[in-house]
Amino acid sequence: MTADRHPLSMTVNGNRIDLVVESRRTLAEILREDLGLTGTHLACEHGVCGACTVALDGKAVRSCLMLALQADGGAIETVESLCDDDGALGPLQQAMADSHSFQCAFCAPGFLMTAHCLLAEDRDIGPTRDEIREELSGNLCRCTGYQSIVDGVERAVTALVEARNA
């Protein structure tokens, strides 16, 4: 069980990170344990719940399923990056807060990152409520029944579309 270790370089929330990591470690573990970014949560570690969702080069990925070394050379964004520079909630987070989207909020980072990637998609009109539901269906929440989360994303989409068209 001697560890085979390899160098890993990536950017995380805009910061360049160089590490040497054991090949069996997941991206989620590196983010949480080595970089202290505990906003990314683990709720199943088998790829179903989406709590661990982060953005890799703008695409939502499950950091529990991905080996850290697979992210080599990539740009990672986590929930911590969504805040404004002064630490206040960013627009997406604020839209979710305004909609009372979450309760225990353990699932929140995953939903936020899924929604963040959805919002980043370059499209003229925002996704419909049904499309939002479908996009969010890879994330599990046990507290809310989802309606408030869909409301929150819809609110963020509306704000974004309005801003784009302004």
Binding site: H100, R142, C143
Partner: protein, 866 residues
């Protein structure tokens, strides 16, 4: 009085205080806790449902570099006290057992050894190197197997797998059945399913290496419960040392006894309860000697302990619980024992496979029911027999199954006139995981009653609304008393709520709508369910569970503190885990004090600062108990603030106004003082003005709230479905909840609680099942086997509120559980309605697509209903 309603926050959809932290990714859940020099634990668990443990070979695992400690059940015998039953009921057997299996494993996932290593990964590697010799035994996986005299018993000392029996009669049952024009009989089954919060369990036992003191970081619903349960079960020393310690701290020992005597003197209800229970306790002590020894050993151990060595407990952010975190688990005790042994901090984070397998399972119940009715639908009486499969090990500090049985029996009449009830309960033990409370643990009463009302209506040729109208208790009959005991006060609005639900949904015209849809080839259905929920129930409600329970739990302590800087802190024993107490309690306090919400901080989860209470956040009690306590304490604080401000402003206290945190004389807002000024004045003035203030605090007011008038929440759920018999899929195009939870503190929080509960009820019916095969092998250990509904499966849920005006103090009632109570019945009733032309009868609760197709006769029936 209702002065709080005049404020600007209470009743408004105020944004959540906790979101600033939680949505930034800055929450501190249990896996986010990291303390210096911390080691990591993993458990080796049984692959067998039932087996004798032969030898355990740790050699290879211990040799793995980075492994610090491995403990087995045998090792715990000298280091911990065994788990024992704390409840007292006649005909009730409570087994005694250890945190890790000794001699025998009793379900898949039963922990056999704990490994502590440098990392979680290493600890798991080491688990794989442990060799255990198992001698498999036949498993008990069904009620029939449990009651089969030829099969093995799970707990040999009890000689039977039947661990609890009770039979009670309320009203004149014989007369009711003699007068019946029809007696309708049916059996209903509910399958084992699971709480499954998104954050599983976990614990960090932080040990200060110099002092040996332990702080337990826990993902729990009650911090004090964790502290005292761990204190009770860990830190075992030989009896002679315990006794020596007791003698050396004679004064402390005396103080404990004096404290108990004072408590009893001040609580006559408890004395009466103890008198009532004495014969039962005595009998249990004599017949279950193992338990008596364990209990005495643990309590004497606790008394003979240097109070400085008691652990503290800390709950941070908790990622959901739904009842699963009301218990102290066997793993918790094993982790603390390992940490104490090593003198080092140890962390254990449960993974999803463990949580599905052993973390929390519930609801495996069935009811045989006979209803005596008149042809016009009037219900005269019922006979019910409830059977619960409680799994192998009861929860601690109390077994969830017996509490569920007591509550289901109490609530069985619901909001209906039921003059006579005979109720039998049985609890069996099996080779399955621990049965824990799950959101509305007595929900079976609503499922069975509301299902049965549909059956009765059909058999009598009445509409489903009609049978309910004939039997629901209306406003004109209140106050009333349920035949099982609890009082229904004039705010119990089930009848009005029901009528509003019928109005909102046009349910009375449904038959026509359905017939048209059927004719057009669309298979649609509608079902409803009406219930009331003791949230928290009338005064003394918990005495229906057991003697003395109300005296024990109906006391909500709170401390309201004006800090030196002019902010206000409320210290509560609640441990919010999604209920948004940091927001709702602050809304109440801010309005009461006349300050902006930002001034208020809710402090919870730390046994060093939180007032003592073992309940924490559970049982939909906080809305009344915590809110009432906050109103009382902030009223006291406000009086003190006003008195001091009156001095500063040289005016009479009655002329003082507090607005937006500024304190002035009525009519002259320009000359004002602030809370910081008042805090300064209080500190200058000294003790008399400061109440029980400690340290830097300016003023401290402590209160204890007994729940006041309490009261009922209630709702009618109306569920619409459309079923596709090609696929067996059930769609829910519309779901309506009409509810009454008294006055609403924050509508967004109330609606969120309702929707979450409904989603879990829908999940239970259409997707979720903790499946075991008939040997007791567990088959749903991942989220691919145990299906949690997603945003695609849960519809938008339409909510309507009924508020019953009242001058009752703290007229806020709980909504945490109701959604999950009403949904299974409403959905199952809708499904039966949609299949009504096929003669389908639904008597079970788990209806995934394959089962729908079986019931509809589209495919042959393969699976037995469980």
């Amino acid at each position: 009085m209702r002065e709080s309603l005049m404020g600007k926050y209470v009743g408004a959809r105020v944004n959540r205080v906790e979101d600033k932290r939680l949505l930034a990714g800055a929450g501190r859940y249990i896996d986010d806790v990291s303390v210096p020099d911390m080691l990591h634990a993993a458990f080796l668990r049984s692959p067998y449902p039932h087996a004798e443990i032969g030898s355990i070979d740790l050699t290879a695992a211990q040799a793995l570099p980075g492994v610090h400690l491995i403990l087995t059940g045998e090792d715990l015998k000298s280091r911990t006290y065994p788990f024992f039953g704390t409840l007292n009921f006649p005909r009730f057997y409570q087994p005694t057992f250890w945190a890790l299996a000794v001699d025998r494993v009793r379900h898949v996932g039963d922990p056999v050894a704990i490994v502590v290593a440098d990392s979680r990964r290493l600890a798991e590697d080491a688990c794989e190197l442990i060799e255990v010799d198992y001698e498999p035994l036949p498993g008990i996986a069904t009620v029939e197997q449990a009651l089969d005299a030829d099969r093995a018993v799970v707990w040999p000392k009890s000689k039977t797998n039947l661990h609890y029996q009770a039979s009670e009669r309320f009203g004149d049952v014989d007369a009711a059945f003699a007068a019946a024009e029809r007696v309708i009989v049916e059996t209903f089954d509910q399958h084992r399913h699971s709480n499954q919060p998104m954050e599983a369990r976990g614990i960090v036992a932080e040990v200060d290496p110099s002092s040996g003191e332990m702080t337990i970081h826990a993902s729990t619903q009650s911090a004090h419960m964790v502290k005292w349960c761990i204190a009770l079960l860990t830190g075992r020393r030989p009896l002679r040392r315990v006794v020596r310690q007791m003698i050396s701290q004679r004064d402390h020992t005396k103080a404990i006894f004096k404290g108990m005597a004072d408590y009893l003197k001040a609580t006559p209800a408890m004395v009466a309860a103890l008198k009532e229970m004495a014969p039962v306790m005595l009998k249990q002590n004599v017949t279950n000697v193992e338990r008596t020894k364990a209990m005495n050993g643990a309590f004497v151990g606790l008394m003979g302990r240097d109070p400085k060595t008691l652990p503290a407990a800390l709950a941070g952010d908790v990622g959901g619980a739904f009842g699963a975190k009301t218990a102290v688990h066997r793993e918790d005790v094993a982790v603390c024992a390992a940490a104490l042994e090593l003198g080092r901090s140890v962390k254990w984070i449960e993974d999803r496979n463990e949580h599905l397998t052993v973390g929390s399972q519930a609801r495996e119940e069935s009811v045989d029911l006979a209803v005596a009715v008149r042809h016009d639908g009037t219900i005269l009486g019922m006979r019910a027999r409830l059977t619960i499969d409680s799994g192998a090990y009861p929860g601690f500090p109390y077994g969830g199954a017996v509490i569920a049985a007591r509550l289901a029996r109490t609530m069985f009449p619901g909001p209906y006139r039921l003059p006579a009830l005979e109720f039998h309960s049985r609890i069996i033990t099996s080779n399955k995981a621990t049965y824990l409370p799950y959101r509305g643990p007595w929900e079976i009463e609503t499922f069975v009653r509301e299902r049965m009302l549909d059956v009765v209506a059909r058999q009598l040729g009445l509409s489903r609304a009609e049978i309910r109208r004939r039997n629901l208790i209306g406003d004109d009959e209140l106050p009333a008393t349920m035949v099982t005991g609890p009082a229904l006060d004039v705010r119990m609005s089930a009848r009005r709520v029901f009528e509003k639900a019928m109005d909102v949904t046009g349910a009375d015209d449904w038959e026509k709508t359905r017939a048209e849809a059927f004719a057009a080839g669309r298979r649609i259905g509608m079902g409803f369910a009406t219930y009331i929920e003791a949230a928290p129930g009338p005064p003394g409600y918990m005495d229906n569970v057991g003697p003395g329970f109300s005296a024990m739990v109906d006391r909500e302590p709170i401390n309201a503190v004006l800090e030196a800087d002019g902010t206000v802190t409320l210290h509560t024993q609640q441990v919010t885990h999604g209920q948004s107490h940091e927001t709702t309690l602050a809304q109440l306090a801010a309005d009461q004090l006349g300050v902006p919400m930002e001034v208020i901080r809710i402090s919870y989860g730390n046994t060093r600062t939180a007032p003592f209470g073992l309940v924490g956040t559970a049982g939909s009690r906080a809305a009344t108990f915590a809110s009432g306590a906050v109103l009382l304490a902030t009223k006291g604080l406000r009086d003190r603030i006003v008195d001091l401000a009156a001095d500063l402003l040289e005016a009479a206290p009655s002329d003082i106004v507090v607005e937006d945190g500024r304190i002035h004389v009525a009519g002259t807002p320009s000359i004002a003082v602030t809370l910081a000024d008042v805090a300064h004045a209080a500190r200058e003035k000294g003790d008399e003005a400061r109440g029980a203030a400690r340290g830097d605090e300016a003023i401290r007011v402590s209160e204890l709230f007994d729940g006041g008038a309490g009261g009922w929440s209630g709702a009618t759920h109306v569920c619409f479905v459309e079923i596709d018999l090609d696929t067996g899929l059930v769609k829910i195009p519309r779901y309506v909840v009409v509810e009454d939870c008294g006055e609403i503190i924050n509508p967004a929080v109330v609606d969120g609680q309702i929707r979450g509960g409904v989603a879990q009820g829908i999940g239970a019916v259409l997707y979720e099942k903790s499946t075991y095969d008939d040997q007791g092998q567990f088959q749903a250990g991942t989220f691919m086997d145990y299906l949690i509904p997603t945003a695609m499966e849960i519809p938008d849920i339409e909510i309507h509120h009924v508020e019953t005006p009242s001058d009752v103090f703290a007229n806020y009632r709980g909504v945490g559980e109701g959604g999950a109570i009403g949904a299974p019945a409403a959905l199952c009733n809708a499904i039966e309605d949609a299949l009504s032309d096929l003669g389908v009868r639904i008597t079970e609760q788990h209806l995934p697509p394959a089962r729908i197709l079986e019931l509809a006769g589209v495919i042959p029936t393969l699976s037995p209903s469980r």
